[in-house]
Symmetry: C2
Subunit: 402 residues, 2 copies
């Protein structure tokens, strides 16, 4: 059985994702789609709207056959590390191809750009510094440097977030010499960070979340952008847990952690650079909300995403020593599968390059960070009974079967 | 000017405390009463009902002339360390006497008991172990051992909590050779741990808090046991901060701290003994409230008070290294004073044995633990505006003047 991989967050799964999965099957000719999905916390350093379990159900209903959790270690880091973890996980389960959405939509451009970078990266970085020092924004500096070094050549627009991620995927495959064929599909009608709806059925997850949390926002208001199963699952989640998850739900805990930790302790946290700890503590004393906190600490040097990630690592109590670089996950955490996915895993069982984990009991040590993330995620719920129910899932929940 | 010291928590200040202050002035013949008061967290390891500022106002209105804060370091520890800190603070401000309430009410008995202990302590401890190993409770083992070694002698009943504390005060004076005369007054009509009212005007702070937090509890319901100013201050506190403080208000934070810390980190906390960390984490996963948590972790070995203190140190993030023994506070944190108190301090200014702190700006390092306690205390408030207002007090509030 041929398998194609996708790397996803599904926050939440929407019609654009459905389109991507359908195209992925067509382009790759694979029988099985394997999704590597971030767990409860995402690459931008924020909690997912709903738990990884609900999002796994969305994915399976949308056409994925197997869903593996991308460990916290990789899921909450910059594009380079994120891509390395996700791609090597797909390699460990023997995907023959990987299909990602991008603004460019042409895999040739990715290869050429990568060749260019392999050859001229030093000059490229120099140029970027040069432009940055002139006050040009980082994405803009990227594209200007490109143009300067390869004038007239049709290379990748690296100011687009999905192009950047895609390039990291292709680079990871090349660097680790994986036998994975990269494929790409043009993203339909929606830019990653779009804040407003531009079509009647396809919208970015960002704009969907924005609409959901707007003053008069409701699940009904985003219905047309979601497959029915996503709609139902969001509806049920709200009913079962009484809320969706946002950073504001964790603000009290972050404030506590910042105000009761010593500066030395904060400096021991992953990605907290010297001096930042004072800035964070100072802002925590005054801020009235997470939003307010972020606005106080944001600078040119520290982007919103980077500060959200730092905040998450602080809240998660992730020490620098826990994040020493690694090339691949140590396990395959199976979140769910379809009948076809089950068949694939049965056939491939002996060829998997990492241990498959579907029950937690004996693997607590290995999964330490992911378990901590599951605990933290549950603590964002206001109701204690719901906290306990969600928390227990990580221990009791068998992989979801469609 | 002659000054007499009292060691108090005033949680809240009630008619019994008023009686004690009146008697203290009579017995000692002093012009000035100096109170050493626990800050926002108390000796039993729990938050005070209302902040140290409100309790200082109660104390000044009730007849105290100066209120100093007993630092967190001493205020939240066992009777021995608590007494050492409080007594040495009174010595540093040149109190000529110390007057404490006790069940015994006769200072001679305290002296005799102390002499006995100085002489026969080893045998005494042996006996206590002997009785304890037979399953006898600790207070009971104390009194039985006493009786066994000094049959017929009229010695102190060490099963009474105020006798125990008083004995520690007398011992601290003796050990450090302070020129302080110990005096004692029989506690009126109320045992320390009384849960029910036994008089129409005097009740223990424990029973007053219990009545306040009972199902139909209200400030009105405890009015007759409180001086009018305490009543008004409680009323205003509730209006200003919308709540009183109980452990339940800190349960979410404690749960977070327990679930997101590693066992090694927890073992580094003051008073967490090897093995206890697992028990605490396990209970935190299941407990629905602080009360529930405590009931789950309580054992014969760990008393309620001890576990509350451990929980507080965990929440406060107090490392073992921060609590290496010391004989006396490093500063005099002035919370409030009457006109007479102000006069006393002016006259004694050059004779104080510790630095007097009335503004915080330049003393943050020294007061680190107390500032942390102030921050933590404010985080128990549900409303963010009120959190900020209470937090700012520790930086903006000048000593209260009556």
């Amino acid at each position: 059985m041929k398998a194609v991989g996708v790397i996803v967050e599904y926050n939440p799964f929407h019609n654009g994702h459905k389109f991507h999965l359908d195209q992925t099957k067509k382009q790759s000719g694979a029988e099985v789609v394997i999704a590597v999905m971030s767990g409860n916390f995402l690459q931008r350093g924020e909690p997912a709207l709903v738990s990884k379990w609900a999002r796994t159900e969305m994915a399976l209903n949308g056409g994925a056959d197997i869903v593996f959790e991308l460990p916290y270690f990789f899921a909450t880091q910059n594009a380079d590390i994120f891509a390395t973890g996700a791609v090597s996980l797909l390699a460990a389960v023997n995907c023959h191809s990987l299909c990602f959405g991008s603004e460019a939509g042409d895999i040739h451009t990715f290869r050429e750009t990568l060749d260019f970078l392999n050859e001229k990266n030093d000059e490229f970085q120099e140029k970027i510094k040069e432009f940055s020092s002139q006050g040009v924004s980082y994405p803009k500096a990227l594209s200007l440097s490109f143009e300067a070094l390869s004038p007239g050549k049709h290379l990748l627009d690296l100011s687009k977030p999905n192009n950047i991620l895609g390039l990291q995927y292709v680079a990871a495959i090349q660097q680790q010499k994986f036998a994975i064929q990269p494929l790409t599909i043009t993203r339909k009608n929606a830019n990653y960070h779009d804040q407003h709806f531009a079509s009647s059925s396809i919208a970015s997850a960002t704009s969907i979340r924005k609409a959901l949390f707007s003053v008069n926002g409701s699940i009904e208001g985003i219905h047309s952008y979601l497959p029915q199963t996503t709609y139902d699952l969001l509806h049920n989640y709200k009913k079962e847990y009484r809320q969706f998850h946002t950073w504001e739900d964790y603000w009290d805990l972050l404030k506590y952690k910042l105000l009761l930790s010593s500066p030395e302790e904060l400096r021991g946290i992953h990605e907290v650079e010297e001096g930042l700890e004072n800035r964070l503590q100072h802002a925590a004393l005054k801020a009235n909300s997470f939003q307010d906190f972020m606005e106080q600490i944001k600078t040119k040097r520290y982007t919103w995403t980077r500060l959200q990630r730092v905040s998450l690592h602080i809240l998660m109590n992730v020490k620098k020593a826990e994040m020493t670089p690694k090339k691949q996950p140590e396990y395959l955490r199976l979140l769910g599968m379809s009948a076809k996915g089950r068949e694939y895993l049965r056939k491939e069982k002996k060829n998997l390059h990492l241990p498959l984990i579907s029950k937690l009991s004996s693997n607590k040590q290995l999964l330490e960070l992911d378990l901590r993330a599951a605990r933290l995620y549950a603590l964002g719920l206001k109701s204690k009974n719901e906290q306990e129910r969600l928390l227990s899932l990580d221990f009791k929940q068998h992989p979801i079967q469609l």
